[in-house]
């Protein structure tokens, strides 16, 4: 039976420490974690401002952010491809088919999730948190930091969620990364590649890693939500 044999080969690859396989996992983690680390300060700040400030156009931004939530990643990939292509406005940067391009793509994909989750976490925070900080003499930055610390589980949920989305994202990574071995080949694009080669074992092995990661993120998420839901 092909399926059982493939799974056995996949497990062998995983546990024998196949260098190529783990390199792909490493590339994936590096790009996705990097994208989140670079994007989260900006996105969390935007989410916080949207939740706490009143200004014209705020509602439109909130609605657009929520709409971008389900934005197809291939469209992000397409737009970024056109921007970074040699004929594109940013072509002179020579970023197409690099890890940087993939990271930018994942930052764009993660941004609406980070913003929207931070927004709802901050909106869900007790109004007294902000007021207490203010009356105790905290400035804008300290107040923001205090509120975000109080809703840290919500912010963590935003990060886990963003990670879950970008780590398994294939459309944009394939378009702007190009699936170059050892450079821009991450788990989702490698799975797609191994299937076209007719070699399923590595694809299944990476699929297992991806699922274990997704499960881990799920557990982390429900832990964060559970911890955040505890009464004050």
């Amino acid at each position: 039976m092909e399926l059982i044999e493939t799974t056995r080969q996949a497990l062998r690859l995983l546990f024998a420490g196949d260098a190529e396989l783990w390199r792909i996992v490493w590339v994936s983690l590096k790009i996705s974690v990097g994208a989140l680390l670079l994007m989260s300060p900006v996105a969390i700040a935007v989410g916080y401002l949207l939740a706490t400030q009143r200004f014209p156009g705020r509602r439109i931004i909130v609605v657009v952010t929520q709409a971008l939530f389900a934005f197809p990643t291939v469209v992000v990939g397409l737009l970024l491809y056109m921007l970074l292509s040699r004929q594109g406005p940013l072509g002179s940067l020579h970023l197409l088919f690099t890890q940087t391009a993939m990271m930018i793509g994942q930052m764009l994909i993660a941004a609406p999730i980070l913003v929207a989750f931070t927004l709802s976490a901050v909106q869900g925070a007790d109004a007294r948190v902000r007021e207490t900080a203010i009356v105790l003499g905290a400035g804008r930055w300290r107040t923001a930091l205090t509120v975000l610390t109080e809703v840290r589980f919500g912010v963590m949920a935003a990060l886990f969620n963003g990670f879950g989305r970008v780590i398994s994202e294939v459309g944009c990574a394939l378009m702007v990364g190009g699936n170059i071995a050892g450079m821009t080949r991450n788990m989702p694009t490698a799975i797609a590649l191994e299937t076209t080669k007719g070699e399923f074992a590595q694809g299944v092995a990476l699929g297992i890693v991806l699922m274990v990661l997704a499960l881990g993120v799920n557990f982390a998420m429900s832990w964060a939500q559970g911890a955040g839901a505890q009464p004050q």
Binding site: E131, T132, I134, V135, L136, G137, A138, R142, T146, Q232
Partner: protein
């Protein structure tokens, strides 16, 4: 101390150190807060002197909390002339220097989910007080509020009365010239009320 007749809020001069220097802390004329067309607070004249305790009474919705929030700079209000500790203040741009001299405590105070020390030291840190000095003032505040036995407890494990005392200690650490306490004894049991009474002296 004349309140506008339209709003049924009474300000009663309560207990306090009547021999203290009778310096005015807050004085203002024509304090008004409206939401849309509705005026929810209208105070003709208000004068609060240092070293005194004032009790604000009135029915629900009369504007007691709103007045405290306006004075603490949490709610916006217009005011013809507002003076704090002898200094003319534009209420629309409530300055940080005033805020640090006022200790506001919510009806149900909220403690940050950090340690008791960090809660009490929060305002000091925000004010940039040096570490050693802050440490000393935190220790003083803990002693003042009788919280010595609670310092290792997570804030969510404290009772309502204990939280109230931590919140008072947190305000006290900043050594304000004016405390604004919103129903500090509500929802406390007998023992909790006694402890708060002993802290604020009424």
């Amino acid at each position: 101390m004349n309140m506008a007749s339209t709003v049924p809020v009474a300000l009663r001069d309560g207990a306090g150190d009547r021999d203290a220097h009778d310096r005015v802390v807050v004085s203002c004329h024509g304090l008004k807060r409206s939401i849309g067309a509705q005026v929810i607070l209208d105070v003709n004249r208000l004068r609060l002197a240092r070293g005194r305790i004032y009790l604000l009474s009135g029915p629900n919705g009369a504007g007691k909390t709103t007045l405290l929030r306006v004075l603490a700079g949490l709610d916006r209000a217009s005011c013809a002339a507002f003076q704090f500790d002898g200094e003319a203040i534009d209420l629309a741009q409530y300055p940080q220097s005033v805020r640090r001299r006022i200790g506001f405590v919510h009806h149900h105070p909220l403690l940050f989910s950090t340690s008791l020390h960090a809660n009490i030291g929060y305002g000091l840190k925000a004010a940039g007080v040096a570490r050693a000095e802050a440490k000393r003032r935190i220790a003083d505040a803990i002693e003042w509020a009788g919280l010595g036995g609670l310092v290792d407890r997570p804030s969510r494990a404290l009772s309502a009365g204990e939280k109230q005392r931590v919140a008072l200690a947190r305000a006290h650490a900043l050594d304000p010239v004016l405390y604004l306490l919103d129903e500090p004894k509500a929802n406390l049991d007998e023992r909790g009320r006694e402890m708060v009474t002993s802290l604020i002296g009424c």
